[in-house]
Every structure is written in C-alpha cells, then in structure tokens.
Symmetry: C2
Subunit: 366 residues, 2 copies
Amino acid sequence: MSDQETELKFLRDQIDSIDQQIHALLNDRARCAQSVAEVKERYQGDREAVFYRPEREAQVLRRVMQRNDGPLADHEVARLFREIMSVCLALEKPMHVAFLGPEGTFTQQAASKHFGHSAHCIPFSTNDEVFREVESGGAHYGVVPIESSSEGVVTHTLDLFKRFNLKICGEVELRIHHHVLRAAEEGLDNITRIYLPQQTLSQCRSWLDTHFLAAERILVSSNAEAARMAIQHGTEAVAIASDLVADLYQLNIVARNIDDQSDNSTRYLIIGDQDVGESGHDKTSILVTVPDKAGALYELLQHFHQHKISLTGIETRPASPESPHSVFYIDFEGHAANQHIQNVLQELQSDTVELKLLGSYPVAVL
Amino acid sequence: MSDQETELKFLRDQIDSIDQQIHALLNDRARCAQSVAEVKERYQGDREAVFYRPEREAQVLRRVMQRNDGPLADHEVARLFREIMSVCLALEKPMHVAFLGPEGTFTQQAASKHFGHSAHCIPFSTNDEVFREVESGGAHYGVVPIESSSEGVVTHTLDLFKRFNLKICGEVELRIHHHVLRAAEEGLDNITRIYLPQQTLSQCRSWLDTHFLAAERILVSSNAEAARMAIQHGTEAVAIASDLVADLYQLNIVARNIDDQSDNSTRYLIIGDQDVGESGHDKTSILVTVPDKAGALYELLQHFHQHKISLTGIETRPASPESPHSVFYIDFEGHAANQHIQNVLQELQSDTVELKLLGSYPVAVL
C-alpha cells in the first residue's frame, strides 16, 4: 500500500465507524418516535392523534442551527435533520401533502423542503383543489404559494381562506432571486435580447417592462438554458437567472434582485386543520374586514404599534364589489396563545366588522 | 403536567439527546471527509484530484443496508446516508451534474437519487448537450436515460458513446411501474375512457394499443390527476398510474406493470470521464461491432456462456446504413479490472471489428 493509500484507509475506517454509530442512533431515534406515536394513540381516545407537530420540528431545527459549529453549514445540517425527522415521521404515519402542481415547480420544492422527501406529495392543478383536498381530509396538509402566476391569472390564495375552513400551520421560504446575467460586458447598455423561461418572465415582468421594454424576450425551457443561450448569442444578449446559474456559467451579474416586489411567490403557506402550539418564534396571520372609510387602516395599525408588535406583512384584498368594506390580510410576530397577542386581537375585534384568525405558526427556519 | 405530557417529555428529551449525538457525529464525518480531500490533493501533483468515488459510495450504502435491523426500512436509511455523503462531498468539492431536463422530470429524480440534494443539478434540453457539457468539463457528471421519449423522437443515448469519449460511471434505477386503476369495478371490461399524462402514454403505448385501441385517451397533467378524473367519471373510466397513487386514492389495480418492455426509461446512466474501481458487485458495458453475418451474435454470446458470465442486457444498435456491420450494446456482471473479465474481453476482441469498453461501475444499490 502506498503512503496515500494508507492514509486514506485510516480515514475511511474512521468514517465507517462514525457511520455505524450514526446508523445505530438513527434507528434509536426511530424507536423513540414510535413510542411517541404509541403514547399519543393511547391517550387520544376516539379523536385522531396528531403526529406532526410543526412547532416541535421548528424547535428541533433551530436548536440544530444554534449548536452547529461546523464544518457543515447550518442550513445543510438542518436539511439533514429535516430528512431524519421526515423518515421517522413516515414510520409513525405516512404523510400525504397536496401541493399546487404540476410536478417540478417551486411549490413542490417548497413542499419537499418543509416535509422532507419521505412525505407523499401529490400535485393538484389549482389552489382551490389543494384547499378542497385538505378540507376533505384526503391530504393531511397542503402547500400553496401566497401568490401564483402559474395558472395564467394571478390566483389570490388568501381569498380562499374566506371560503374554506382551514388554518395556516406553517410557512416556507424559497430564496429564489433573479438577476440579469451577461457574458462579455458589464452594465445594462446595448441589450437587445433577453433569454428567460416563462415562469421567470411572470416573476420579473414589471422590472423588465420598466427597463427593457424594447428588447426581444426569448422564452426557453430553464434558467440554465437561458444562460447558455446568452453566452452563445453574443454581447447584446442577457439571461435572467439565479446566483447559482451565474456561478456555474461564470457570467457577470449586471443587475440584482429584479423580481417584482408585488409577487411574493417565494413564500409558501402550509395549510391544514390543526392549531399549532408555540415554538418560541412564531407568526400570526389574520384576515380583517373593516368599514371602507378614511383612516380605517391607520386605526387598525395603531393597535399593533401601541402594543409594540411588529407587522411582517400586510396586503389589501378586495371585498365583494358591492360591499362597503375593505379586507386586509395581516401577518405579525407572536403567537395567538400569548396573552399579549390576545389583548391586541380583542381590541381589533371591536374595530372590525369581522376578524378571522388564520393561524399562528413557527417562522420559517430554513 | 398530565401523564401523557410527562411520558412525551421523557421521550422527547431522549430524542433531543440522540439528535445531539447524531449532530456531533455528522460534523466529525465532515471533518474526516475534509481530511480525505486534503490527502488526495497532497498526493495528486498536477492532476486534478478525484473526490467522488462511485465504488466507495456503493460500498457504504450496501453496508448500511446489510447491517440495518430496523425499525427504519433499508431503503430509507440508505437514502439518509446518501444525503449525508452528498453533504460531506459538497464540502470537499461542490458537484455539478448535467441532466436531461426539463426540471421535474424522472431524470432529475434519478440525478438527486444518485448524487443527493447537495449536488448542483443543471438541466439540458438534449442528451447530446449533456454529453457535450460533461466532455468539455462544464459538469463533473451527466445523468441520461438509456432511452427517452421525452424529446418527441426516441433518442438512443447509447449511440452517443460512439461520438463522445465518455465512460459510464454508474447506473440509477427508478422503480416506476404503471398500472391500470379503476374505482368501482374489477377487471378490464367496459373501459371507454383512459386518463393519463403524456409521459405515461409514451411509456405504455404498445400495451394500450394492444388492449384498448378503441378507448378514448384523455391527457391530464399528472398521474394523481388521472386518478381523480377516473374517480369522477364513473365506472367506464380508468387511470394509468403507480402503486402510490392507487394507494392514495384507494383504487383497484386491474392490470399490473403495463409499461412497454422496449422502453427502459426507468434506468439511467451516470456518465463521466472517470475509471471507476471495483466495488465488489459491478457491471460492465461494452459496445461491439461485428461483421453482419449469420450467427455473429451467437458466437459473441458463446464467450460469455463459456466463462459463466451473466449478461444483464443486450441491445442491437444500427450501424450506419451503408455499413456491413452490426453493433451490439452489452451489459454483463463483473468488473473489467478482474482477470476473469479481461480474458473474455480479449477473446471478444479477436471476434469483433471493434470493441469499445464503456465502463465498469457499481450495480445500482437503491
């Protein structure tokens, strides 16, 4: 054996011994998960036991990221634990998750990111069908984008909470940011051709309309393909794609984050019929209907300001055309089980025509 | 705390302690992997060090499956180790893998199954481009189906080995089997409507033509959608989908494995420019050109028979139209580094116009 072989053999024997220990611990963990299921079923009586606890998973993942001191990156090791929990959960009860399809979309990525690859994820053609499948009990959870342009028209997912009696059980964030990539040149001058896939076009349309209304837009099958076409087609061509693609093809990023702000398709909601407990870092979403008068929104927001509660998102939703009311979707920090939040919700109640609590759930960990 | 809460807390504390141990071991493993990379680079001199060793990964996964005694299923725990190796490898060197796109196809699934989710997988529109990308060094490996109907015409991947100087470094199997699913009825009588996606149609066309030429075929976006449509559209409707879908929608399987035998799209090849060492359970692929005369194939196969070597696959490939030769693609058990196999290859050499060794590689583990 050469010196190199001896050194490698020593290291590989070490890896094998580590793998054996990891393996034994994985099965130990699975046995504990089985015992958890057993305890839950024993005490549950007639009600169906709840095996998936989003708040508990969020806590586990946060702890993993906190205590991690490398060399593995925090998000990589958290992803491994997500898969480990997914495998253990599948042993207790195989999870069925409905998502807005077709397969291969970002929503499927979001579903796998949140539930791991042991969950059975089933595509549905519309958000409406995803909600219906979860409400009927056909799927345990659903994954929907907050807003999606994949169906031709923008479907306002939030409006579906008015029609379906479902809750938000979690959120997933996919960090998809689009940039303008260029091979030879720096800067945004002399761009005549833009290569990009359909989905990217719908996510960056306003920015492109503002900056490059005249340039030819050529639709291709993927962002990687766009990069390759831009390289082939000379100095006046650019591609719209992510950091990863820029890196792979060694292209210059000549404009960053051109995604339209109004399109929050990088955030996805987990819907279900479960009340999620406190995880220690939670968010609450509500849908409020207020009289359509000047200052209504301001009054609403004052309550949050007075209680020092941070709003994380607000969106105006149309009420029915003949209605004299406005509807707002509001996200804020905190859990509805918390007394502090309960006080605000009570105050809001007296100021609004209707207040619907959509759910409290852990802030996205990964 | 209630009794249930006490019991659950005890179990969860146990899980947390197990997680801490797994976490520490994962980082230990990553450190070992870094040392492996260091050793390789130190001894490599000017040549580029090879970080990914398919034979070594296959051995690790086989050991995992052999020693596994549950409760986790063999394939689940092997999948976790695949991800662990993927994460550790990404730390040594981020892997770039080209695959036949678009995203969301089975080929992408095959790529993730083989390289784990830490590899950067990049879609290409044709097999040709995948080969070119790997040959030029733009990607470390490529993943291509043996045969694919996704490009409209059947592209014979195998023919590309004549044009590109690349090797087979591994194989991936996806177990995708299609069945005929029916809601109310048993048996194959009175079927007038068949719901299925385009891709499934191309994989099951001969069977459907033979058995249900007259039935209406309705293309839908996914196999799950097909099942839902079949349920909605009464007793004369069926869906073509997998076990998983049958299970999810509680449909009867009235005919099993209707996939056309000629379409091996459930097997994928890993291509690269690397000679893969012995893993202990390997396969070798060759491309042989023989004079186009009666008995040529028989003579060829005799060599394998005499040496008691099992053939795992054989396929006739057209030579150029004016050529007086026949070309065969042959897969058999064993590794070309093995003396036994070398003897056969030598014998074959004398009987053939040309013999191209495409590679020896580990038999698919998962």
